[in-house]
Assembly symmetry: C2
Homo-oligomer: 387 residues x 2
């Protein structure tokens, strides 16, 4: 199939489409492709690649995929499942976390090039969620000890306002996501296949739950299979989207150690939870503790101590300071009290919780918004974290 | 009771008696007393102290004990239980291991002065045993996990020719001693009271077993009670008599952490075995791993890696090289085979084990000695380790 010039028309939508095309044509993480797209722009890059006129080494990265065009179908598939494509420049693009990838790539570290675009599904805001995020990763074949530690750590980090990022896999990943969810907090799962595919299939319900408040994130368009090599490519993104990486359990040959290595290459502190020396699932964490800069952590305080050193303030109090709250009327105060820590609520839900009429709540909420205690979105109200 | 000049007559026995007197009069480890005895000699030191004419600060260290003289009774008690007093200059005095205490004391570290003398009980040779020794210490209230780790580590170190040094207490200490004994190897228990006292009483049989091939060691004369403060004084000796210190389990306020601190002050590497973060008995080891130079070890190879760096060669093969053994006659070879790894045996025991006549064994042994395979002591024969 030859490429018609009109398909390469410039414009914002064209750039977005071009990046969508690139996500299917190119396996991410490659420094050469990243440099090429960066130098000629996504539209010209796509046009050159589709007409097989890109520099030989760059063209080789696309292989037989050069004449495939499923952009419209991919974008339509995304819309149909409530997903969206994020590209650099979007407000929700996690530019700050990803910057470390650009720096590492510029310094010659292989395989750490930033994503060309991100397919995301869920109600969370990627930029906001990753502004204050910790990766919790580990073995698929975790023990009950490891699962409990991952869930507990995730719960306590989520309670303190941290987003838990993991890979959506069996074992430690799932325990971490569930721990965060059980705190009523959003969590981010970075997948190695399309965001419409549940891999593993048994996690379909978990992924739906994650998408409610948090996000499913992938560099591959809908429908793409989670090939083995994609997990390794994906790991760098788990590391990049968090300020630190905690390995809870890892066997001697665990992918979690790979993620930890990526985190270290990105300058993120790596932490490891020790375990019984008799457990095969702690062999990898003990290797990390012996042979790398990884810090031993036994609980959330240790994790906060590590990642708090990165200029990220300790978790603010969820409720506003007493002085500001003292100025509220009785109805306003009861309305504010009724709001849960992180979940948005409809006005009539708030009214039931507060024991007030819907009319009273509807009059109190705008006043609370003016004072910066709550915010409105899509008919619901939620607490403002920094209030 | 006043001191008569003739009691202070010079001589080897007098110096030994003076040091025996000092072990009852003085709580060990004090730099001031150590310097005083070093400068005036043990006899003059004893004479001055007994007549209350030592420098005020030194005299104060003896307190009301200055006019007490139980040297004859203490020495007789030692003889009656098969014990002996070691003093500097004795062939069996562990001068090399203790040298680090002199250095640390000279550098101003408090409470690390070397012992003035050592009461020992058992068939082991203190200088030989501590030439290649590792301390394994930990909580009295250890878990089954910790006990197993201590016993396994001690067993494998003993198998490789290392002496396990510990404190004879419940929990990790006892597990370490038993692990070494189960490998048929000698072990050293450094006690905080007299070597005739079983503390804890339940360890009477264990201590008898330790004394068979190894040693019970104490800075206090027979009959002395294991006062609480003596355990802290004793800990420095466990650290000094080993080239490295492994902490297997330790609670937040464990004495094992004190021993580890002493080892670090003496320049000995400290190692710690991790455990479940849910275990109170691993809190102390995790603190060591987080907040000190302690190295995480999960097995004997890791321990050997640490202590092997100290110029101590890896354990030699217990049996001689095949080439040398090939030259032995059939009777000589069977005699050599019959000798246990570390235990000395009487010729008729060897004969029974080898299925040879006593006469054949008696003719083979000198030839084996000439070739460096075995050595003779007190009527018994044992394998030479380096053969």
């Amino acid at each position: 199939m030859s490429v018609q010039p009109e398909e390469c028309a410039a414009g914002v939508d064209a750039a977005r489409s071009a990046r969508a095309w690139l996500t299917r044509a190119v396996e991410p993480g490659d420094a050469l492709m990243h440099a090429y797209v960066g130098s000629v722009g996504p539209i010209a890059a796509m046009c050159s690649l589709r007409s097989a006129r890109a520099p030989t080494e760059v063209q080789a990265l696309v292989g037989a995929r050069y004449d495939e065009d499923r952009v419209s179908a991919d974008l339509a598939a995304a819309v149909s499942i409530g997903a969206r494509l994020l590209v650099p420049g979007d407000r929700e693009w996690p530019a700050e976390p990803l910057h470390a990838m650009t720096v590492a790539t510029a310094m010659g570290v292989q395989g750490l090039a930033p994503p060309l675009a991100l397919w995301v599904r869920g109600h969370g805001d990627l930029a906001k969620l990753t502004g204050r995020a910790v990766a919790i990763v580990g073995s698929r074949a975790s023990t009950s000890y490891g699962g409990e530690q991952a869930a507990q750590l995730a719960f306590e980090l989520a309670e303190r306002g941290w987003t838990v990022v993991s890979g959506g896999a069996f074992g430690i990943d799932a325990a971490a996501h569930r721990g965060a969810l059980s705190a009523g907090a959003p969590t981010v799962a970075v997948l190695a296949g399309g965001i419409d595919r549940s891999y593993p299939a048994a996690h379909a319900a978990l992924f739906e739950r994650i998408a409610q408040d948090g996000l499913l994130v992938s560099e591959w368009p809908p429908g793409c299979a989670p090939y083995r090599h994609r997990f390794l490519i994906r790991n760098r993104l788990i590391a990049a989207l968090s300020v630190g990486c905690v390995v809870v359990e890892a066997s001697a040959r665990s992918g979690a150690r790979h993620t930890a290595g990526r985190a270290q290459e990105l300058g993120r502190p790596v932490m490891a939870v020790p375990g019984p020396v008799t457990s095969a699932m702690s062999v990898g964490t003990h290797v990390l503790l012996r042979d790398t800069e990884a810090r031993l952590v036994t609980g959330v305080e240790h994790v906060i101590e590590e990642i708090g050193q990165l200029g990220v303030d300790l978790a603010p109090l969820v409720r506003g300071p007493d002085t500001a709250r003292d100025a509220l009327s009785g109805v306003q105060a009861r309305t504010l009290e009724a709001l849960p820590r992180r979940r948005p609520m409809l006005p009539d839900q708030i009214a039931r919780a507060a024991g007030l009429s819907v009319r009273e709540v509807l009059s109190a909420l705008p006043a609370l918004e003016t004072r910066g205690f709550v915010e409105y979105a899509d008919g619901t109200w939620r607490l403002v974290r920094s209030s």
